[in-house]
């Protein structure tokens, strides 16, 4: 190991350390728990104050506009969750009754999820309703 | 209809793929004959050092390098090139590239077919090796 190698290694280590720290900060800021509605129902009590990402199907006909935002219900394995959308972005085009959605936000006092962000699954492949025969 | 089409496809593909097994000469895949040798490596490295030298000179003319840096780097490349030339000399390249390449091929062949290695003879006037079939020495032109 000559001195240039050492200098390079030290420089590299400093860069990686700095980036790791920045990454850690960003991670703390943006991490959220990704769960489905039924998992959410099972562990509701420990989740106050944490950022959650909850996946479920939007219940057909549950979407209603109320006050400043939008409310709807998502469901998974028989459990339901009421969601109030408080974000400012336009909802994705794929968002509609029956679509799979992932809502991101925190739990309010009255048990409604205050969602700042809603993703709806891109329907690149529509789930097959026909039975499929493998040739 | 479907079966006939599929059968036809299989037959066509089969003929196309299997023909070389019967038609191509059955010779060896002469890997040793093709592999990189010391000569190839030296020539490639020489070309690269020359190219580095040319780039260096251009960069200097552009006014990007200090005189000191230029002289130091140029000296480094030149001594590297000189060493490569020496090594090539050792292989006898500087004398005649064609001859060296022929000798290189002969050496590779010797590796492949050990029996053929001795099939050269020495020129009585200058002492250079020539292949058996030749009647005149490639080096000095004297009769063998």
């Amino acid at each position: 190991m000559n001195s240039a190698n050492w200098k390079f290694l030290i420089g590299g280590a400093v860069i990686i350390a700095a980036l790791s720290w920045l990454g850690f900060v960003g991670f703390q800021e943006s991490k959220s728990y990704y769960i489905t509605v039924d998992e959410f129902s099972a562990m509701k009590s420990d989740l106050h104050g944490k950022t959650l990402k909850i996946a479920g199907d939007v219940v057909d006909g549950s979407i209603e506009r109320s006050g400043p935002g939008l409310e709807f219900v998502i469901t998974h394995s028989g459990k339901n969750l009421k969601v109030r959308y408080i974000g400012r972005d336009v909802l994705p085009d794929t968002f509609k009754g029956g679509s799979k959605a992932v809502v991101e936000g925190t739990l309010s006092e009255d048990g409604v999820l205050l969602a700042r962000h809603v993703e709806a699954k891109c329907a690149s492949k529509y789930e097959a309703e026909y039975n499929k025969k493998t040739t | 209809m479907l079966i006939a089409t599929c059968g036809l496809l299989v037959v066509i593909a089969g003929i196309y793929v299997l023909t070389p097994l019967f038609k191509e000469p059955g010779g060896n895949l002469e890997v040793e004959l093709l592999a990189e040798t010391e000569l190839d490596r030296l020539l490639a490295r020489k070309a690269m050092v020359y190219s580095n030298l040319k780039d260096l000179e251009f960069e200097y003319k552009m006014g990007r390098l200090s005189d000191g840096d230029f002289r130091r780097l140029e000296a480094g490349y030149k001594s590297e090139a000189a060493k490569l030339l020496q090594d090539l000399d050792r292989l006898g390249v500087a004398k005649d590239l064609d001859e060296t390449i022929e000798r290189d091929i002969a050496a590779r062949k010797a590796k492949l077919f050990p029996g053929t290695a001795e099939k050269t003879r020495r020129c009585p006037s200058c002492g250079a090796e020539s292949p058996l079939g030749k009647s005149y020495c490639a080096d000095c032109g004297g009769k063998l």
């Binding site: 000559n2 240039a4 190698n5 390079f8 860069i15 980036l19 990454g23 960003g26 800021e29 943006s30 991490k31 959220s32 990704y34 400043p68 400012r88 336009v90 909802l91 085009d93 794929t94 029956g98 992932v102 993703e119 699954k121 891109c122 690149s124 492949k125 529509y126 097959a128 026909y130 039975n131 025969k133 040739t135 | 479907l2 089409t5 496809l9 593909a13 793929v17 038609k23 000469p25 010779g27 060896n28 895949l29 890997v31 093709l34 990189e36 490596r41 490295r45 070309a47 690269m48 020359y50 580095n52 030298l53 552009m62 006014g63 990007r64 390098l65 840096d69 130091r72 780097l73 030149k78």
Partner: protein, 678 residues
Amino acid sequence: MSNLGTFCLLLALCLSLYGLFASLLGAALKQHRIVRSAERAAIASCASILLALVSLLYLLATSDFSVEHVAQSTSRDLPLFYKLAALWGAHDGSMLLWVFVTAVFSGIVVFQNRFRYRDMMPYVVAVLMFNLSFFLILNIFLSNPFDELVQVLPGGTMQKFSPPDGRGLNPLLQYWAMVIHPPILYLGFIGFVVPFAFAIAALITRQLGDTWIRTTRRWTLVTWLFLGVGLILGGKWAYVELGWGGYWGWDPVENSSLMPWLAGTAFLHSVIVQERKGMLKVWNVLLIVITYLLGIFGTFITRSGIINSVHAFADSKLGVFFLYYMLLVLGASLYLIIDRLPYLKSERRLDSVLSRESAFLFNNLLLLVACFAVLWGTMFPVLSNWVEGTKITVGPPFFNNVGVPIGLMLLLLTGVGPLFAWRKTSVESLKKAFLWPVILALLLCVVLLAAGMRSFYVLVSFTLSMFVLVTIVQEFWKGTRVRVRKTGENFALAMVNLTLKNKRRYGGYIVHLAVVLMFIGLTGNAFNRETSQAMVPGDEMQIGRYTLKMTEYHEGEAANYQYGRATLEVYSGGKLIRTMQPEKRFYKASEGQSTTEVALYSKPLEDLYVVLAGPSNDGKRYEITAHVNPLVWWVWFGAAVMVAGTLITLLPDKRSSFANAQLTIAEAAEIEMGVKAR
């Protein structure tokens, strides 16, 4: 027709497996004719897959809805162009396209090298056929696009079934950039298999000079170009079609195509060090293995649904196969590399950190750290699920926190790297090379500070952009001047000839220039503004220097969708500059799927981006969202420059080159005289 398609795929699989074993057998027995036969199998397999592709296109064009793929991704009212494009509208069809491209690449490699590298080619063919066989197996047995629909009758028997109409192509995909985006991205994912195959062949035959790198340089560059263009087109699509006002969201699918691009960029740079200096040999082999695997990993992420994404086409049974394949390839490659370490010794050591070698090393370090960070962030839900049993996702702040500094450091290296001397640069040389770039960059920085700019990253980004821009201009300027002095050509001609005479270097500078332009565009993100307002005709809204006046709202019906359209007049400084018509469409064939048609007014300085979000809460007004996105135009412009620069480096060399080192014989002789005169 569908049976014929499946048969062709099976035939192709047999041929590629034959090719795999025959080429290895030929190499082991040193029988040239067996290798020839293996090569023909590769070409025949390509032809067979072409037949399968044609039969699927025929099924799509004739709307044969008894085939599941056709029924799910097309409908009768779709224009023919989109019917054919629906080949990659669902994943089993896109897998066929994937396999086809792989086969074509393999065929081209075999043909190109039919007289060259006879010692390496058996192994190259073996690797290519191994790769092809794997994807063919997935395609045939796990996602066959020729599967037919069946109906279960009350008695429990099954019967073929052909619905009267298909479900239609997802309207979000009916946009030109989205139509060509997947095939281009595939070309980019797949192409790395060629340098990878040559690297493995070089390892096996112990020919670890730079032959494998020189031979595959074009493949690597073209692949890298396609991947980059694919990324940009994806961004363009998101920007124009999705209506959220941005082009990059750190979505897992976007990330998975970014990773091989980053690794490929690192590879493109570090091979230069090996070619010029005989260093980094182990590293280069390792890099191409990583790049190839990341390409496979990209496919794996998009196809396996392992990570939830707005794109995820859930189909997890594929995942296991990808995982085993990747582990196998990684294990075998690592074993080979370790076994051949004695052949991969570096010819030189690093002399100084202030050298071009070291700049290349830092470039590689940063690109790989970026790649790792993206991988980490993308895979975190999966990792945390394994470790803790809870899925934890990571959002854009993580990626931005890591990505922005890395990007800026890379931008700095873009400027300084090419101007450092090899081995060691003295302070004096640094002064000569960087005086003007530093002065002008600092000047810009002061001007920006005086103008009230306080954002740290924005300041750094613009300052560095200026710095790099000046270094590049200076390189062209000084180089041209030397050439003018030498040849007496006029300045413009000298500049063109200078570029053409050393395409690799000056083409590279143009790509660097493109990087600067794109950074300018990316920095514009810091100034994005957005306003939403519920409006009725006659209302006005303000955003930035624009006043938007709604004049009309209109609902209507087109061939396959209904739409609502707002008409807005855009005034700036009291003058009418444009009329914009954002739309909301509801597609009939796709279960009422809606799309947002963005109205876009794009200028180099800023984009005005207007979206009709839909009726407002009370149902009487219409929600309009307007974004002003400064400098976005430069991202697309930079991308175009990047393509141009890459194409220049790809131009063929007409002159007779001296052993691939871009020297004529006369030049070489002159240098040799100089060396000998010492």
